[in-house]
Each structure stands twice: as C-alpha cells, then as structure tokens.
C-alpha cells in the first residue's frame, strides 16, 4: 500500500480518465469530504463556522472563478468583486421579485454575472495583459456605481444595502450556521468538481492553449472568441455564485461598497499564493489569505508585548498590508506556482519514498 501508481493497473478507459488515478488519493479525498460534511458540523462551534469556514469556502469559489480566467485562460482580471456583486444583487432580485427558491436564484444570479462578464470580456478579443486589466477595472467601478446609483437593484433601500431574505430548501429552513455551512459546502464542492472536469477536458485544454500563446492557438484551429468569452462567462458565473453565497450565507446584509477593488485584489492574491492554474491551489490560497490576518492578530500582539511595545490595531492592519505585499513578491519570485506547487513537490517526494533513486 505504498503511495504510487505502480501496481494499480488500469483496464478500462474509465479508469484511465478518472480524476484521482491513485487509490490513496481517492481514499484521502473521500475522507476529507466525509469530515467536511459530517465531522465538521458536529465539532465546529459558531465562530469557526461563520467566521472562518463559510468565508473560506465562498472565497475559494471566487478564487476558483478567477483562477479559471487568469490561471487557465491567461486573461488577467481585476474585476472579480464586481462580478460577485452582480451575483449577489441578481440573486436578491430574483428571490424578491419572482419569489424563487434559493438555488435557482443563486444560479440565475451567477448567470447574470456571466452575462456582465461576457460584456466586459469583449475587449479581450483585441487586447491582452494589463490592457485587459484596465478594461476589467472599468467593470469594477462601473458595476459598483450602477448598483449604488440605481435604487431598483436594492429595492430602493438607503445607500443600496440589501438584506438577505430567509432561506429554505424544500421546506427546511436554512438559518443556523451549520445549515448555511452545509449549503455552501455542497454548492462549492459541486462547482469545484465541475471546474476540475472542465479544465481537464477539451474546454480546459483550449483555454490553456490560448493562455500559452493565443496566436498559435488560433492557428491550430481553436476559436479565440468562443474560448475567451467562455472563460469570462464561466469565471464570472463562479464569482457570481460566490457573491450570492457571500450575501446570503456569510454576511446577511451587504451593500455595493463591500465589493470594492480591494476585494478583487484579495481574490487575485489568493490565486497567486494558492497557485496560478490550479484547482486545489484556489482552496489553499483562500485558506491562507483568510487565516493570515487572524494568525497575525494572534501572533503580533504577544510578540510586541514581549518587547513591551503596545501596538494599535491600525499598525497591525498596516503590517498586514505589508506582509500581504511582501508575500506576493516572495511567492512570485520563489514559487510562482504557489502553494499548490509545494503540495505537488510533497506528493512527488512521497511517490518515490522510501527509495529516492
């Protein structure tokens, strides 16, 4: 039962194409899911659920969305937060005006975000790199402005704040942290599975071809327009659903100003730290960026207390900025493929253990 493919024979095409070719991986992921679905709700308290685990899952989903666009299709976007906002406000309006069940409303909210994403993705057909970054900045500012200025989106509440309606699925109320956690977890795992399958199929391969060199991709017959716009649509859909989940399962009340440029950057950082072009990396990145401030808060205060310096929260939050920035540079310089790459190296090591030659 060593961790390697040798001895694990594949006799069917289905076996050859499975996501986790190594048995130990399958067992590990099964265990992880079992713990996440059954173990965590029993053990975790309210703080853990609503302050750490739910935001982690939601941001992992948004990161996944951006990773599809930036990591796989190679189109840099600084507007992820705007697409999240579209998803959140879309879902709110579908529930408010059409009295929809929540799951279809979330999905339709995501589709709204996808539409907006396609619209702002159109320039990507002519431009790339940081030119595109500026185009997505337009989305970022325009969407937040539109949601604030046009009261219709927020049902004419003051300053555009929306309050999530009560949720229920088939009569089960979703009001406790545990039920919200389970809802988020289900949606995120399904969408993650979908993403994994997308990137290892035809779709994902054409995205990667476009990323590596779009002219070459066009020459070998990949339709650029379709591929790029599909990447924008799928990415914005993921961000949109993440936004809807953020509004309904995490925050409860949310205003357009929550979805600022800073949030977009945060998601971009999650992508970079976790690993550009990696599904698993999106989860690592989200966990890292969510946990870092909490960790710093716990560590920095006693550390400075040791030297008799009392530091204010302002300094801690500024140090957080510096550490974030420093980490980004560090990761780009030392490990451009992020935490996911470290994980992979670990797996390679494990694969040849105990005989490294």
């Amino acid at each position: 039962m060593l961790y390697r493919e040798t001895g694990q024979f594949k006799t069917t095409y289905a076996a050859d194409q499975q996501i986790f070719p190594i048995r130990q991986d399958r067992i590990a992921i099964g265990l992880l899911l079992a713990v996440a679905f059954l173990g965590v709700p029993l053990v975790a308290d309210q703080y853990w659920l609503s302050a750490i685990l739910i935001p982690f899952l939601i941001f992992a989903l948004a990161t996944l969305g951006l990773n599809i666009l930036t990591g796989y299709a190679g189109q840099l976007s600084l507007g992820s937060a705007a697409f999240m906002a579209v998803g959140a406000f879309g879902a709110y309006n579908f529930i408010l005006r059409l009295d929809m069940p929540i799951i279809p409303a979330f999905l339709l909210g995501g589709l709204c975000a996808a539409t907006v994403g396609i619209l702002f993705g159109l320039p990507s057909l002519r431009i790339k790199g940081f030119y595109l970054a500026v185009a997505t900045l337009a989305a970022q500012f325009f969407v937040v402005w539109g949601l604030t200025k046009f009261g219709w989106f927020s049902n004419y509440s003051s300053s555009g704040v929306i309050t999530a309606q009560d949720m229920e699925i088939f009569g089960f109320p979703i009001d406790s942290p545990v039920s919200k956690y389970l809802l988020t977890l289900t949606i995120v795992s399904l969408l993650a599975l979908m993403a994994k399958n997308m990137v290892r199929s035809n779709t994902g391969r054409s995205w990667m071809a476009v990323r590596d060199m779009d002219v070459a991709a066009e020459v070998i017959g990949i339709p650029l327009m379709k591929t790029k716009l599909l990447a924008f649509a799928v990415s914005s859909f993921y961000c949109g659903v993440a936004g809807a989940l953020a509004a309904y399962c995490y925050l409860g009340t949310v205003e357009p100003d929550y979805f600022t440029l800073d949030l977009s950057f945060k998601i971009l950082f999650m992508v970079i730290v976790g690993g550009v072009g990696s599904i698993l990396g999106s989860f690592f990145g989200a966990a890292f960026i969510i946990l870092l401030p909490i960790f710093l808060n716990i560590v920095l205060h006693p550390l400075f207390g040791l030297f008799g310096i009392d530091i204010s929260t302002a300094i801690v939050s500024n140090m957080e900025l510096m550490i974030f920035g420093g980490l980004i540079i560090f990761f780009l310089a030392v490990e451009p493929h992020g935490l996911a790459r470290l994980w992979q190296i670990g797996k390679e090591k494990l694969r040849i253990w105990p005989f490294p030659h």
Binding site: A138, F142, F265, M322, I323, F324, G325, I328, L332
Partner: protein, 297 residues
C-alpha cells in the same frame, strides 16, 4: 459657453495631474517593460514623506531633498528585492509583483507616517487669477496654472535628459532591447535603479502637487489609478502620449460629469475614464502614440 470653457479648463488642469502620475508609469515601462502598478502608492508615499518632514519642522527645500532621498532608497531597494529575482519572467508576473509592491508601500507609508491626512502647504495660493476672472469671467486658479507649468517643465527636463545625456541614451538603449544593451556593456541593474529613482522623483512632484490640493491622504492611491486609462489613451511608451492622454481624460471626465452626469444621477467621474478607455481600446488598442505590436508564432 463660458461655463463650458470653465469646465474644460478645470478638466484640462486636473488632467495635468493625471499626466504627472502617468509619466511615472511610462518612464518605467519604457525602460524595463514593467507595468508599475505601485506608481500610485509611490505618489502616496512621497507625498506623506514630504508632508511628514515638513511637519517635523524642516523647511520646504530640505523636506523635498529628504523625500527625494527616501524615494531613491525605495527605488534601489525595489530594483534589488523585486526586479532582480524576477528577471526574464513574463510581464504579467512582474505586473502582479508590483501590485504586491503597492500594498507593501501603502502599509509602510502608513506605519511610518500614520494614516491621517496631512496638509501640504507649498506657499502657492489656490485662488482665481483676478485678470482672467475680470477679462473672461472664468475661474482659473493660480495653483492649477503653476501646477501646469511645473508639469510642462518636468516633461521638458525629462525629454532633454533622455535625448542629450549619456544616461538618457543608455536608458533608451535598454528600452529598445535589453540583451543588445547588455552586450554593448550597459549595466542593466544600474539603469533600472536610475529609472526607478527618476520615477520616484516624478512621483514626488505629483505627490506634492496632489497633496497641496487635496491633502496627502490614502485616496491619492485611487486617484493614481486614473492614470491607467490615461496610459491606454496615450499609449504605454510615449511621454507625449501620457500628457495628451491626461488632458483628454481630465477634460472629458469633467465635461461628462457636468453634462451627462445629471441625467444618470451623478458620480460618473469615477468610472467614466475607464469606460472611455475601454471603448478606445476597441478602436485603437495601441493607444494614440503607442507602438503597434505584431504577434508572431
């Protein structure tokens, strides 16, 4: 009609400010191909440092030199710590690294100088020039005019520096082709340190002028983001483009705010430049004065 011209001139003058920030972007992009997202943070840092020295009681020239020295240190450190390990990486990686750098500088500036807004007083009055007020019945502030003159002078100095000095020639050589420049013995690392220092200087001038107008505050970093559409309009590699783009963005955003704004509820100044740049990209992706880029497989 007078009102139109007043808005137009106000817009043009604020466009000068955008140009100043955009100039810093262009300098670095020309010399190293790095799209320096941290230019806005550098403007903020420079303004805060300058204001900080003034608040500590230093006279204006001393504060200016002090802030300039800290920008030099920042420039050299950036070259050492950020650019050198990332040599030969794709441009997009460098771009993301400068986003990290921007966060780092913003955090650093606020730890060193505090997050509160600091006033900068350059001793220039911000009042309408009486002559123009009487003659044409338009409000044009002395400060804006002086800012425009300073910006013009800065551009002239930079153009001369690029054209007539030995370092300037080296800079242009590096901008043209890194490897060719290296092979004829131009030290890349020095050139990069110099160019970041020059960009730091431009950031300092921009920071002082912006700061004198609005105070040295965190919002400066957002204003600096407006330099991005300016660059798109003007092209990434053209100093002239930065100036023209700045003027276009400044004037159109003010005109749009005044004439289109009321129809949709105002506040469009925040996104109008970006959307303008977006449409511009669709028509002319390389900008007004940029070099056309041809892809080869």
């Amino acid at each position: 009609m007078e009102f139109f011209f007043e808005v137009l001139i106000g817009g043009l003058l604020s466009g000068v400010m955008y140009s100043l920030v955009a100039l810093g972007f262009v300098l670095i992009y020309k010399a190293s191909g790095v799209f320096n997202f941290a230019q806005g943070a550098m403007v903020y840092f420079a303004a805060l440092t300058f204001a900080g020295f003034v608040d500590m009681g230093a006279p204006l020239p001393v504060a200016f030199v002090g802030a300039f020295v800290s920008m030099i240190v920042l420039g050299i450190l950036t070259e050492r710590v950020v650019l050198r390990p990332l040599v030969n990486q794709p441009q997009i990686t460098l771009f993301m690294a400068t986003i990290g750098l921007a966060f780092f500088i913003e955090g650093l500036a606020q730890i060193v100088w505090g997050a509160s807004t600091r006033r900068i007083d350059l001793g220039i009055t911000d009042e309408p020039i009486p002559y123009i007020l009487d003659r044409f019945n338009m409000v044009v502030s002395t400060f804006d005019l002086i800012a425009a003159v300073i910006a013009g002078a800065l551009v002239a100095v930079l153009a001369a520096f690029f054209q007539y000095t030995k370092i300037g020639r080296a800079l242009r050589a590096v901008a043209d082709d890194h490897q060719a420049a290296l092979s004829i013995g131009i030290p890349l690392q020095h050139i990069w340190a110099i160019i970041w220092t020059v960009a730091g200087f431009v950031a300092l001038v921009a920071g002082m002028l912006w700061g004198a107008r609005n105070g040295a505050q965190f919002a400066l970093t957002f204003v600096a983001l407006k330099a991005l559409p300016v660059l798109i309009l003007g092209g990434f590699t053209s100093i002239l483009g930065a100036i023209v783009g700045g003027l276009i963005i400044g004037s159109t955003e003010k005109l749009a705010e005044v004439y289109i704004g009321p129809m949709v509820g105002g506040g469009i100044e925040n996104w109008f430049p970006y959307v303008l740049a977006l449409f511009f990209l669709l028509v002319r992706p390389e900008g007004l004065f940029g070099e056309k880029h041809i892809d080869r497989v």
